[in-house]
Assembly symmetry: C2
Amino acid sequence: MKKYFSENEWQIIENGFDPQFHESAESIFSIGNGKMGQRGMFEEQYSGKSLQGSYVAGVYYPDKTRVGWWKNGYPEYFAKVLNSPNWIGMNIEIENECLDLAKVKVSNFKRVLDMQHGLLQRSFHAELSGGKQIAVNVERFVSATHDEIACIRYQITPINFSGKLNWSNYVDGLVKNMDSNYDEIFWDRVAEEAIGNHVAIQVKTKKLDFSVAAGFEIKCFENDQLQEQIAISSKPWVASADWQLQMKQGNTYTVERFVGVVSSLNYSSDSLLKACRKNTQQAVALGYDALRQMQMEYWKNIWSHCDIKIDGDVAAQQGIRFNIFQLSQTYTGVDERLNIGPKGFTGEKYGGSTYWDTEAYCIPFYLGTSDPKIAKQLLNYRFKQLPKAIENASKLGFVKGAALYPMVTMNGEECHNEWEITFEEIHRNGAIAFAIYNYENYTADLSYRAEGGAEVLTGIARFWAQRITWSENKKQYVMLGVTGPNEYENNINNNWYTNYIACWCLKYTSQVLAEWKQSDASAYNAFAAKVEFDEVTELTKWKHIFDNMFFPFDENANVFLQQEGYLDKEQMLASDLKPSERPINQHWSWDRILRSCFIKQADVLQGLFLFENHFDLATLKNNFDFYEPRTVHESSLSPCIHVIQAAKLGYQEKAYELYLRTSRLDLDDYNHEVHEGLHITSMAGTWMAVVMGFGGMRVVDGALSFAPMMPKQWKGFSFTICFKGAVIKVQVKDQNVDLSLVSGNPLTVKLFEEKVQLN
Amino acid sequence: MKKYFSENEWQIIENGFDPQFHESAESIFSIGNGKMGQRGMFEEQYSGKSLQGSYVAGVYYPDKTRVGWWKNGYPEYFAKVLNSPNWIGMNIEIENECLDLAKVKVSNFKRVLDMQHGLLQRSFHAELSGGKQIAVNVERFVSATHDEIACIRYQITPINFSGKLNWSNYVDGLVKNMDSNYDEIFWDRVAEEAIGNHVAIQVKTKKLDFSVAAGFEIKCFENDQLQEQIAISSKPWVASADWQLQMKQGNTYTVERFVGVVSSLNYSSDSLLKACRKNTQQAVALGYDALRQMQMEYWKNIWSHCDIKIDGDVAAQQGIRFNIFQLSQTYTGVDERLNIGPKGFTGEKYGGSTYWDTEAYCIPFYLGTSDPKIAKQLLNYRFKQLPKAIENASKLGFVKGAALYPMVTMNGEECHNEWEITFEEIHRNGAIAFAIYNYENYTADLSYRAEGGAEVLTGIARFWAQRITWSENKKQYVMLGVTGPNEYENNINNNWYTNYIACWCLKYTSQVLAEWKQSDASAYNAFAAKVEFDEVTELTKWKHIFDNMFFPFDENANVFLQQEGYLDKEQMLASDLKPSERPINQHWSWDRILRSCFIKQADVLQGLFLFENHFDLATLKNNFDFYEPRTVHESSLSPCIHVIQAAKLGYQEKAYELYLRTSRLDLDDYNHEVHEGLHITSMAGTWMAVVMGFGGMRVVDGALSFAPMMPKQWKGFSFTICFKGAVIKVQVKDQNVDLSLVSGNPLTVKLFEEKVQLN
């Protein structure tokens, strides 16, 4: 799909309609507001290939899991992101002919995602039978200011004929997940209503009793003249508002649709239809233009603190803005029950909403660009789920409040379905602790400790203290049977990254608890009593572990070993692979991948990224020079980390090459899978690649520093950073770096090792 | 279920009916003839819990596989043993009341498996409403002499009343697998027929087009008087023969059913109903008593060369005979397309028909007890599937004729559905080579080499030569990412057993090819041309591997290491486990099991069993003393190997304890799972436990030896052994061992290291 969309600084533009890219374009043109979202599919009927997807945040389905042989401790279900009522549907019949872009002749097709203003637009000419031509203009948005409201304005102009139009607008609750393990419908019908100008339906999940209601009112116009002859009706699953009329050549016929979508997360099930109606009434009262104006202002404000500007490289500029736009419309931080699914509101693959991506990638983005409240909500999310994390660990046999956060979850329960990930990719627990460290580091706000952070850290530390075992053979502590970030290795012993972050967790938790005891003994004591913290025994054990842990290292190669035995593998480089074999996960058997030395994503290097300040530059260089050539970057989470390190090491070309790959991963569909949805969480990695990579930004021990370097393809770039209540603007142009304080109190930062005072 | 069945030397007896054990009893009372078989369920309707299972050898279904995330190289289907038309069904209505043992009052219930004669018998009294009493006697058998025929004789005597009897006899094709991944029916209806006295149905699998027809004729008697008033009929899926009559108190009413079961393995689909009819007609012509007499004679002959007699220990005697009986009725060696499923005809779990159990356990049994033709058929089976084994390997990325035999198969394609087994439990390839060695060793018949054996060995050797890789780090060859026989470890490096058997395969193949070239150069050359054998390069590579292979060994413990890193695990002994935690696979999470040191089944010790003669007794003792206490024997294949080694090492108590566990595994339901079916293949291990364990029999380099030792619980034991065309009888009583030649040419064997000439 490379270069299917036009390059533009603020817009994604599809010029001309090519059905083979339609599902990919649906993903790219997705819109949302944190509470709901939708792929960029057509409103009118379309009989070509399409993934019709509308999603409501926090509404999921516990699909029966699918494993070869179920074993004790395996999760019993796999939470699926739930395709929800379709609220954009319409059938447009012109002289008894259905408007269907798979069947009519289409010209002047243009679909635009206006990222600056949060609007999705489309226009085209269609030629119907007998040469009848119409012009169509459509705009829709999911309101960011009124998050249970969405609007559509759909306009038809008959160019060279007059004739009958039968325009049926409907909302449909009988929606099927593309991703269903046993090909089941997940919804039950509850009710439909058609009252006055308002139509709506309510459905309920077959399990867990989530309810969703969606409905709308329409306003119809001939040119500017409001029309009244609308017929409303309902049948099982569907409610409709139909407009029948005689079109006159040259006139424009408009339907404005004011949609309300509500769920039982926020209302009782029996008041849902009422809540839906209230939203549509409010939308009608405000009117399309007012809601549109508020939408544009909301996005203007977002960009004022999130934007990254790149001069002289439109592709790079478009890429980074697309990432920031998608992230900002996926999660807004208003609801602590929500999180950031790997595909957001853009597809169904992977299921669940929460991976370690949130802590490792998204939290730095939200910390750097937004009010700390947003990141804090993500921390709260994990605290609320601590009891489930303790339950997860206890199902596996861990005791005494040890907490293992799930690999994938909706409500805190594990729902991934491969033991080699579920039980073994446990470094995620470390990322959750590291996010707390990051939060305190960026904000200097220590409040989370008392609000649950200390409990989260203690649960995690207790897990590590049991999961790490003493090897009488080595006379050191070891961690056996894990999967590191590089998922092309399973069930390995002593993954350096996991061992390292586990020990760091034990140290950091010890330190936080000591500080807290010092600063607020009574709160600390209440906590210790609540979690039955056996201070002396537990702290002593933790220290004995981090003082005596085994870390695999190879003297010859002078690198940390990804795992014990890694060098027994046949050593090859990614450059030895034929292009036709890549990505290897599409061309090689899993057997071959597992036994190869190839690395899916940063693993040792992920550790050197998080803990860069623990090591000298030579160590980073040795390990990067060894591991980068063995890394195939077949995870969207991989290239960004390498960009940051390549930039640090002065490998400018490598940094730029990997940056383009990460920032335009979806726009250029590097992995041939964008039709399944966007890689939302890795978009935060792209932000890190610019800010930490080219901007050289670091936040270490509460101090902010910059060391920018600019790709030679760029003329300049700038971004803003939120730090301890201040907003700092960084502008790089030619050889100059300009730092300025946009808001907040004066502070000192470092630029290339020199202190700079910002006033 | 311990001791639910009465101890008896020749029979399994259930005295009294306890519904909670009914499904287990159905497994125990299974009957078969190699071509078809059936669980021991009731003929008449039974509304309690039951697994109604009838199976036809070689008829299977490619069920859609169930995995978490499908990856390249994963098998696409899982072959299911197929529950087939139920040909025993009857509804018995007495005065409009249905005879259903879950609903009536049952007394004097007795169910007997007469192993000496291959008959299943049942008798009981039932009290119906109003105190009406009947006596019932049933006998059925699956004919061993006419392997498409089965017979039932069902007799009812009203004891204290006269009344109406409506006796409907049916065959039902609408049968559902208990084991179905997506809860589907696997059969399509083809036809039913009701012609003359004959009723039958034909069904066809929804995939692969296997057809099965089953039908019968009945003969009805009042006392000895043949009755004629039978009404036949059919409806979709079902055909029936109904007998309505007025019973008179004290008279006996008998239905003899003559069943034919045929499949498209042996007939064209459109001649199946005819073939079925031909069988039922033949059965009717022979008559029940004649068929029964032939059945008894067949089994008399089987026992004459298979029996093991144990004096003074009825439980042990019953156990070993039950094993021999089940093995003998599961596989008869008449059809090279068939093999020995882990549950035979007794249940559906595990799917597939062929595991490495066949070569590692069953072939020694058939070699030792039967005409070599039977074992040869099992070797032929693998040769016929060599092209599929090469295809399996090539799907994983292996080249040049490398063959990886599947872990589970029906037709040669892999159909197991866990990567850690499918790709990794590759030692099975070694067992298949070892079976060839065993065959030649027991029979002195080298004909299989030229008939395909050399090709099989070469394909296997080529696989090892690619699967083993050079470690530049160790400067030795290594084998990474395997699962050994101990499936409580996955994806380990350098499993000692797998490394050892792989190198043995390379050596043995080199030796066989050299001998063959010597003995028949032209045949050898034709083979070499056919498989494009690059003699110098390949043999040199193989030798370089087996001369430079890494074998993990621990100096301190002085044992071969099950795998690299095994001693980094926390070392515990099985005796440290609480009884409530065992079996650990029912009480521990898979995570905990994988990371524990506990061993599911013989692994290093499996190697020392196969290659005992390569090592001295001290090595066996060191390794046994180390590994046996860590082994939890949660595979049915495990205890028998330990019995043999314990006996060799003089650990008499341990040997006897483990022997009882293996020989009465199903009868006493040690693992609480016998309701799912019997452990057919491990029954061959039980035979080995007696003959190789207590009998001390070995066949090494073509020489036969014995070194009996008798458990103190026994008064004596005896068995016969087939060896190079001779049959040798071994009798042990008190301190005496008596060897005699039953048939065949004189030969020399060793007894306790002394040569004995048998004439």
